[in-house]
């Protein structure tokens, strides 16, 4: 199959799955609802069903989709940035940094909510961005900046943040339940406010990354070659790093750490439609959002009690990933 034909099929399948996922998310939940109920609600809205369909289920589905899109886009950006398909938001320390902020806020009882974020969410966002800035500042040296240094500094900073998180959990074991929410991720507390806060940023980053996608293609050939072909490499790199950090920090701030999406979704998409970044960025966002939509659906239906979504993303993502990897070889 040609790449162009493959791309069309991919987009069609993804859009269809996405719509089906939203529909399922609306219908499935602790309160039994049928498609007929939904049709009746659309025809003549009432307050009870508005609460169930819109404020609980749709808000949650929209937030899951946005977070999935943000994580997959951040992963796609960082894999291009590091020229390494194994990169994800963990490698620059943003995820671990954000988790530290959230757990610290939970342990210290920090409750100042703002911008639709909870107290821990706000602190997660700030510490996630803070740690990336620190990692970036540390890897700037006189006479230049090396991507390898950034990668290693990020991994080290992430490990340090994880150690501090574990230490906090050990000292304040009473905050453990809340910490699980942040460390394994959940959309239990989803609200329209959170979706409204992150949606414009996700859209902005998607538009900007598509705008700079060809520059990212050139980076795959090496920085010097990219610049020789006409890309302002240093500015492009700064923009992409800032975007990926922002996306990952926003995602953690509303839903905790959700692993595997940022690593695996861009990888799948690349296997299916090729490495060119313009379609890759857009398709990763759509596929990541759709993937997380279904994962959240699974997280809240498989067991009577809700599962942390991080459990689902890894359990579903890893086998599918292996299947695609071996099918292609």
């Amino acid at each position: 199959m040609s790449r162009r034909g493959g791309r069309r099929l991919f987009w069609a399948a993804c859009l269809l799955l996405c719509l089906a996922g939203f529909l399922l998310s609306l219908l499935v939940g602790p309160v039994r609802t049928t498609p007929a109920d939904l049709v009746a609600f659309v025809k003549s809205p009432d307050r009870v069903h508005a609460a169930i369909f819109l404020d609980l289920r749709l808000a949650r589905a929209v937030l899951a989709f946005l977070v999935g899109a943000a994580l997959a886009l951040a992963g796609a950006i960082l894999q291009g940035y590091f020229r390494n398909p194994m990169a994800d938001p963990f490698v620059v320390g943003v995820s671990s940094g954000a988790a530290l902020g959230a757990v610290a806020a939970a342990a210290l009882g920090f409750e100042a909510a703002a911008f639709g974020f909870s107290g821990p969410g706000l602190l997660a966002f700030l510490s996630g961005l803070g740690i990336v800035s620190l990692v970036y500042a540390l890897s700037l040296r006189r006479g230049g900046f090396k991507v390898e240094t950034l990668l290693l500094t990020g991994i080290a900073a992430g490990a340090l943040a994880s150690a501090l998180t574990s230490f906090l959990l050990f000292m304040r074991s009473d905050s453990y339940d809340q910490a699980v929410f942040w460390l394994l991720g959940s959309f239990q507390l989803a609200e329209w406010g959170q979706a409204a806060t992150i949606a414009p940023w996700v859209a902005l980053c998607l538009a900007a990354s598509v705008w700079l996608a060809r520059d990212m293609d050139l980076l795959a050939l090496g920085d010097e070659t990219a610049q020789a072909l006409g890309s302002p490499v240093r500015r492009v790199r700064k923009a992409f790093l800032a975007m990926s950090a922002l996306l990952a920090a926003l995602a953690v701030a509303v839903s905790g750490i959700i692993g595997f999406v940022g690593l695996v979704v861009p990888h799948w998409v690349r296997l299916l439609i090729g490495p060119a970044h313009r379609p890759l960025f857009a398709a990763s966002a759509l596929a990541g959002g759709t993937f997380l939509l279904y994962c959240d659906l699974a997280a809240r239906t498989i067991l009577p009690a809700e599962l942390p979504i991080g459990v689902i993303t890894a359990a579903v993502g890893a086998p599918f990933f292996l299947y695609l990897l071996h099918k292609k070889r």
Partner: protein, 263 residues
Amino acid sequence: MNILEAQGLAAGYGEGFVVRGVSLAVGEGEFVAILGRNGSGKSTLVKAVQGLLANVDGAVLCGGEDVFRMGPRRVAAMIAYVPQLAEPVFEYTVEEVVLMGRFARQGRLSGTSEADEAAVAEAMRLTGVAALGAKRLTQLSGGERQRALIARALAQETPLLLLDEPSLHLDIAYQAEVYGLLKGLQEERGRTVVVAEHNINLAAAHAGRLVFLRDGTVVASGPPEETVTAANIRAIFGADVDIRENARSGLPEISLAAKRTSG
């Protein structure tokens, strides 16, 4: 008219300079080879003259414009570059990579224009990679990959081509083919070609002028007939060679003089 002119150029990576006090003018339509030992600064010079290095001193003019003040897009419209070591990541096809040569001529969101397609097809035809278009760059042999990267540089449609050791990964037939291609571009299409090269015979057979570097400075410059001498090669490369005339072209050729280390 000079298309490229370095004036008192010093350049390096990080701190300190690898290349120092290089003044070099390349006329339009010339074929110049930069020769020297490993570490003599050939690659550094090739990168520095197109503004790829941050640590530079002196000036480089390209078409009369200061390269260090030109944006990368502007430089890419004048100079195409084939780097020495290219290790591609991700599974780009040959055609996608050649199309990347059109970057400086495309808008960020625009599609592939007819001019782009024509330039890509022509570049792939000239380099003999037209049949490999749908293959992944990672699947190619070293020689095929090198020709694909030259195709990318040709698709850029610049007056000046800079190549860093284009013969490095090529077997002897492809070396001749690549240099023949460069020579043709220079003679028939008026392109200016500058190569960094370690193979003295290859350079002497194709370039109109050789520039020898030692420890980052130019120590000899001129046509092969004047510069490829046993004394020069000994002084610059530290190697004892015999020089003879090529039976067909009359150009100088070197062969290593047998070295006896019997005690």
